[in-house]
Structures are given as C-alpha cells and as structure tokens.
C-alpha cells in the first residue's frame, strides 16, 4: 500500500517536462500516422455552411481578417475553406483587415485559393484585398459607413472607386454577409456594435477556440448566422465542402492530445488526493 502511495505521490510531483514529452508524442503520432477518427459536424458550423450555400452568385461578401500570425494554425484552414466555398458559389469577395498583419494574411490566403492575388485576372472583378484600415473599432465604424471612403486604395495601392467588385457596395448594409476572422480586439463585439447592430448586416464568426465562449451568446440570440470554432470548425467546414485539408489531418492529433490531457488531469488528481489522505 505504502509503495502504491509513494508511486501516486511521485506522479503528483512529476517534473512538468515529462508531461510536455507525453503531449509531444501524443500529438506527433497521429500527424505522422493518421487514425481517421470520425468527425461529426456541429450545428453552428452547419448553420454557417447553409447560409453561404443559400447566397446567390454575385452577392458581396465581406471578409474581415482581424488576426495575427499566432492565430493562423486555427484560422488559416478556416480562411482557405471559406474562400474555396465562396469561390465555388461565385460570390464577390471583399477582404479587409482591422489588424495590421491581417492584410498580409488575406494576401496569402487569396494567393493560395486563387493561385495569385493582384495578378489574377479576377482581381478587382470578383475579389479584392482592401488592406489594413487603422483605428480598430473606429476604423470599423468608418468602413461600415463608407467602404470606399475608408479604403480609397486597395492593399496594392490601386484606387478602389471604379473597381467592379465594389459596384453597389457603399456601406455595410450592402454586404449579404460579413465573415469575421476573430482573434482578439477588434473582433466580434466590435463588429456587432459597429456593423450588425446599426446596419443589420448578417455576421458569421470564424473564431479561435480561445474566444468561442464569448462569441456563442451572439449565435444563440440570433444576432449571428453561424460560427466556426477553431481547428475543429475548420475541419468540419472542409468536410462539408468536400475538400478535406490540413484541419481534418490535425483533428486526430487534437483528439489524442485531449485524451492525454484528460488522463493527466485524472492521474494528477488521484496523486493529489492520495497525498492528502496520507497526510491525514
């Protein structure tokens, strides 16, 4: 009994670096050898997909890239999946960023999906990257009030006033949907305050898992039409559009890592309570 207790006590006092190695192995194995674990589609992702699917071709969709490189492992697969879907639906894609790095991320995502950004024949006609608009929430409010006024030039310095993709797009009201790639501030609360509430534009969130619980109330209250949550949301969307990519590949690793963490929590608690009993 005492041997068993000393083992559990040692578990409770284990060097944290041992846990890092366990997690590293747990994540690496499924990445190198996929397990093909089943993946269901959550209702919020289905709502997002169905809404985009219901949009007629030619409608203007705004994509706000409000994220930094730290969010890319979760948001980049979402961006690629959504852009691919919008490309297939032949909607007009208007990208803008209220975080400085977002404009470059939009450039990379457009290049990955369309093969090129500025040099693509469809640039300015079916899609555009309006670049970064400074000011955070103030910038959002300015963009919502006057799209071309807040972004007189695109990311590459070309004037936007005569761009075909922006014809009929004056204010936030003229978008059929705005997808917010949310990571921090400015993010979902700001876009709800400055675009959804005053202009009634439909908003969908593509958020990191970190802020999912802050975004969920807007979906439940009907202020939002759909939501993707982290890597899981991206994997679900990839499956829905029939193009499984890096997010689907990463979900096995995510599931195995979660099992490892649950086991670690259980073992840690058993060790803790066993030590407490011993002390009594």
């Amino acid at each position: 009994m005492s041997e068993e207790r000393s083992f559990l006590t040692r578990l409770g006092r284990m060097d944290r670096r041992f846990m890092y190695v366990v997690i590293l192995i747990a994540v690496s194995i499924p990445l190198l050898r996929p397990l093909a674990l089943p993946l269901s589609v959550s209702p919020e992702t289905k709502l997002f997909y169905d809404y985009v699917q219901s949009l007629p071709s030619g409608t203007a969709i705004g994509l706000t890239f409000d994220c930094q490189p730290g969010a890319l492992p979760e948001l980049y697969p979402q961006m690629l999946a959504i852009l691919q879907h919008l490309k297939v639906r032949q909607t007009r894609i208007i990208c803008v960023a209220f975080m400085a790095e977002g404009a470059m991320i939009a450039h990379n995502a457009l290049t990955d999906v369309f093969g090129a950004s500025q040099s693509h024949p469809g640039y300015g006609k079916t899609f555009v990257n309006l670049g970064f608009i400074a000011g955070g929430e103030t910038g959002m409010a300015a963009f919502a009030k006057s799209v071309k006024g807040a972004a007189p030039q695109d990311y590459y310095g070309s004037p936007t006033d005569k761009m075909e993709v922006l014809s009929g797009v004056e204010t936030a009201k003229d978008f059929a949907l705005i997808v917010e790639f949310a990571y921090g501030t400015p993010g979902i609360p700001e876009i709800m305050r400055q675009m959804q509430s005053p202009y009634g534009v439909k908003i969908a969130a593509a958020a990191t898992a970190l802020i999912a619980t802050q975004v969920m109330p807007y979906l439940k209250s009907g202020q939002m039409v759909g939501m993707l949550t982290g890597l899981r949301g991206a994997a679900e969307y990839e499956n829905l559009i029939g193009k499984p990519g890096e997010a689907v590949a990463g979900m096995d690793a995510q599931s195995v890592a979660h099992v490892a963490i649950i086991l670690a929590i259980l073992v840690g608690n058993i060790g803790y309570y066993s030590e407490r009993r011993k002390q009594k």
């Binding site: 670096r17 890092y20 997690i23 590293l24 994540v27 690496s28 990445l31 190198l32 730290g70 890319l72 492992p73 979760e74 980049y76 400085a100 790095e101 404009a103 470059m104 670049g131 970064f132 608009i133 400074a134 955070g136 929430e137 103030t138 409010a141 807040a150 972004a151 007189p152 030039q153 310095g157 609360p189 700001e190 709800m192 305050r193 400055q194 959804q196 509430s197 005053p198 990191t208 898992a209 970190l210 999912a212 619980t213 109330p217 439940k220 209250s221 009907g222 202020q223 949550t229 982290g230 890597l231 899981r232 890096e246 590949a249 990463g250 690793a253 995510q254 890592a257 979660h258 963490i261």
Partner: protein, 231 residues
C-alpha cells in the same frame, strides 16, 4: 542554389525550435528570438499604420481635401510624449482617442450587447421549440442567465429559495469557466498541431534530428554542471 523561400522556411523552423527550447529551460537564444519577433511585429505594424494614414488621409489632403491635415496634425501631437516640458500636449490626442472610441463603443453596446441579448434570451422558444433537445437547451440558457444574475445580486441574504437559486448561478458560472478552460486547451493544442504540421514537412523535417541531438547535448551538459555542485 537554395532559393529565398526555402531559406525563409528554414529560418522559420529554426525560430520555432528555439522557441520550443524554452520548454526545457529559459535560455539566452530564446530571449534573442523573442526580441527579434517583437521587433518584427512592431516594424510590420508601423509600416502598415503608415500606409493606412498615407492612403486614408495624406493622399486625399495632397489632392486638395485639406481637412485631412487636421487629424494628422492632432496625431502628431503624440510626439510631445517624449518631451518632459511639453508632455501635457500629448494628452490632447489621447483625450480625442479615448472620448471618440468610448462614445462610439457605448452607442453600440446598448443595442448589440444589452438589448439584443435580452431579446434573444426572453424570446427563446420552450413549448414551441422544434425538438425536445432544443427546448431543454433553451431552458438551460434561461435558467443560467437568471440564476447567474441572481448570484451577482448582493442585497439579499443567501438563504431559502433565493440561496438555492444563487447556488445554481454559482454552478453555472463554474461550468462556464470550465468550458472556457476546455476551449483554451483546444486552442493551445491547435497551435502546437499547426507548428508540428509545419515542422513535419520537408526540408524543415531534416532539422528535427539536429535539434534533438543538440537538446541531448544540452541536457548532458546541464547534468555535468550540476554534478559537482550536488556532490
């Protein structure tokens, strides 16, 4: 000949591995990379902000819309932040920013984050819900909102039915914190997965054995250094 893209990818992989070295122990190379990253991030933000000011305000001003020079001039007052004597002038643009941003936010908060949220909660269907699961979910949301609000109601003693409702609110708060923590774990794991997916691609994959050997040498070095001290 190695192209610039490959050099960039390899550099990125080396930076990632050095950042991972922090998991073993804090070290000077990690600190160096941390500072380089910070420098890059600030540099990118500065360039993008300058480009935004140029296209939004400076270019229209040069084309005759002189009104745009006014916000630029007010913004330049920030430079007095570095003057001991005229520091107070830098408070003028700060007050503009705080006043403008607060006013803008408050006007939206009332509708988007208070009224619409209340409407969304009180109109949740219970009897007319499309299926029993949705009805139960809606009931839980209503119970959660009401009991959590009661939990933060401090003018009534916590006993009787009121006490039980407050306890229920406390449970909802704890469950909400647990859900948030679960999502945080999920987000952090996604970051690790993203980095490992990047590292498992060629040519950066070839750096992994090198990193592993360096880590082992480092561990052995540490053990050797700790040896005589322990003795």
């Amino acid at each position: 000949m190695i192209d610039v893209g490959t050099i960039g990818t390899l550099l990125s992989a080396v930076f990632t591995l050095i950042v991972f070295s922090f998991l073993y122990r804090d070290n000077r190379i990690y600190k160096l990379i941390e500072h380089i990253y910070l420098g890059f991030a600030i540099g990118v933000s500065a360039v993008m902000a300058k480009a935004s000011v140029t296209s939004t305000a400076w270019n229209p001003a040069m084309r005759g819309a002189w009104i745009w020079l006014l916000p630029i001039a007010v913004g330049l007052l920030f430079c007095f932040y570095f003057s001991k004597k005229h520091f107070w002038i830098s408070r003028i643009p700060v007050s503009f920013l705080v006043g403008g941003a607060t006013g803008l936010a408050i006007s939206g908060v009332v509708k988007a984050q208070i009224l619409d949220q209340i409407r969304g909660t009180i109109t949740l269907p219970l009897i007319t819900a499309p299926n029993p699961i949705t009805a139960i979910n809606n009931l839980l949301i209503i119970l959660g909102v009401v009991s959590t609000l009661l939990f933060f109601f401090f003018s009534k003693e916590r006993k009787g039915i009121m006490g039980k409702a407050m306890l229920l609110g406390r449970i909802f708060v704890v469950v909400s914190l647990g859900a948030s923590f679960g999502f945080i774990v999920m987000a952090r794991m996604s970051l690790l997965i993203g980095r490992l997916q990047f590292l498992f691609k060629t040519p950066q994959l070839y750096l992994l054995p090198v990193a592993l050997i360096m880590l082992l040498i480092w561990i052995m070095w540490d053990k050797r250094k700790a040896g005589p001290a322990q003795a």
